[in-house]
Amino acid sequence: MSATRRITDTLVIVAVMLLVWQILHQIAGETALPAPLPTMTYLMHMVPTARFATNAAATLLALSFALLLAYAIGLGIGVWMGAHRLSGAVGEPILVALYSLPKITLYPVVLLIFGLGLSGKVAFGAMHGILPVALLTIGAIRAIPPVYLRSARTLHLSPWQTIATVLLPAALPEVFTGLRIGFSVTLLGVLLGEMFASKQGLGSLIMSDMSLAQSEDMVTVAIILFAFAAIANALLLWVEHRLHRRV
């Protein structure tokens, strides 16, 4: 498919979504759902304000820490269970089972352990991200042709050297898929955490907007988060495609 056609398609989708939004606005009324155009002008006014900036910074900070933890722990578990056959056979179904559980039910437990505030949000976000990163890393490492490992052994590489110079480069494209999915679910985890109990961050901003019936503000924040996630995903997908083509 040509690039221009793809761009036109995306524009058509956006146009259709805006149209649906406008229709919903006509049905729901001004107070419940503001129209697209006023929301866009509102967005221009809102983004430079200190209120938005501090909350966005709080969310970004929590997201960065959560991603760091999710990636480190997820890769650690993934490499371990991918390389060690028995651990993987025992552990993988447990990880799969945990992955499909509604983790939101565990948020109160996270809050009791880590407290309200940054560490609770970070822990909850990381909880979401660890599993897809670990699961895809396990799959990626298992898919490595055994001959790679045999040559590593022939060259007398230490376990660390084997991981750094053979396992990770060979598994990188698929591992990166894990990192991309991990990004999305970690963002979701952080936002859910903020929505339930937090005084800071865009998730809590949306909830306070809702209770104060400031729908313009609420929809604007939702749109910004939506766009942020979509753009981040597109960038990560782009990198991922390049990695896949390299191999």
Partner: protein, 252 residues
């Protein structure tokens, strides 16, 4: 029971045992986590008292409704979109991005529109679950072997007979993947919505128990939901395995 399965059970039991021990010996504060055995007894007395029956009915009812709507609409939309290649091509970027954006942040917007009722919960649940079913349906229909449509033409089958006797069975494994994902997503979205803000339901109960520092009730409810989710996921997994085996066994 295989050796690996045995080790897995030992690992899980050991983890629960370690938690129990850490709580009993006072390494973990009682106000943070209560011992697993206490969670179980708390859940038993909570279920026996019947105090949460109404909420169980409500939450599971909403989840069932969400799953049913998602599967029916997802399948129907999938069939329609599959028949329109140009529309499908245009929708591709949307499908590729859909599960990467936090759809859930629109839940407060839905509450603002529809008020605090089951309606926003059902909508956010379907919005989360339906797209997985659409994508699975498209995948499944793509994988129907060409030869089947030719066979249908040779036997002069009508479109309905072709769909029911040939296309549907061929696409079934992919459709089942869609069902599995819809169930899992529907469950998660409904519980999350109830938890964040809802007039009633099990998710709301957990949030309330947390706010009241009622740890016994909170852990009992959490345990209950985790058990239900594990049973449902386990059942779907077993079904999946059995069907895969049967298909593999049928092959020469």
């Amino acid at each position: 029971m295989t050796r690996v399965g045995l080790i897995r059970i030992v690992v899980i039991v050991a983890l629960i045992g370690a938690l129990e021990l850490a709580c009993r010996l006072g390494f973990i504060n009682h106000r943070t986590i209560i011992p697993p055995s206490e969670m179980a007894t708390a859940l038993y007395s909570l279920l026996a008292s019947g105090a949460i029956n109404a909420d169980i009915e409500r939450t599971l009812g909403v989840i069932l409704l969400v799953i049913a709507l998602s599967i029916v609409f997802g399948f129907a939309l999938g069939v329609v979109i599959h028949a329109l290649p140009r529309v499908r091509e245009a929708l591709d970027p949307l499908f590729a991005t859909y599960y990467a954006v936090p759809i859930f942040i629109f839940y407060p917007v839905l509450i603002a529109i529809f008020g605090l009722s089951p309606m926003p919960i059902v909508l956010i649940g379907v919005a989360t679950a339906v797209v997985a079913m659409i994508i699975a349906t498209l995948n499944g229909l793509d994988r129907v072997p060409r030869v089947l449509t030719k066979v249908a033409r040779v036997h002069r089958l009508g479109p309905v007979t072709t769909a029911v006797t040939l296309q549907l069975p061929a696409a079934a494994p992919y459709l089942f993947t869609g069902v599995k994902l819809s169930v899992s997503y529907g469950f998660i979205a409904v519980i999350a919505a109830e938890f964040i803000l809802s007039p009633a339901g099990l998710g709301r109960d957990i949030a309330d128990a947390y706010a009241d520092f009622n740890n016994r009730r909170m852990y009992a409810l959490i345990l209950f939901l985790l058990i239900i989710a594990t049973i449902v996921n386990g059942l779907l997994h077993t079904l999946d395995m059995r069907w895969t085996e049967r298909r593999a066994g049928g092959r020469p």
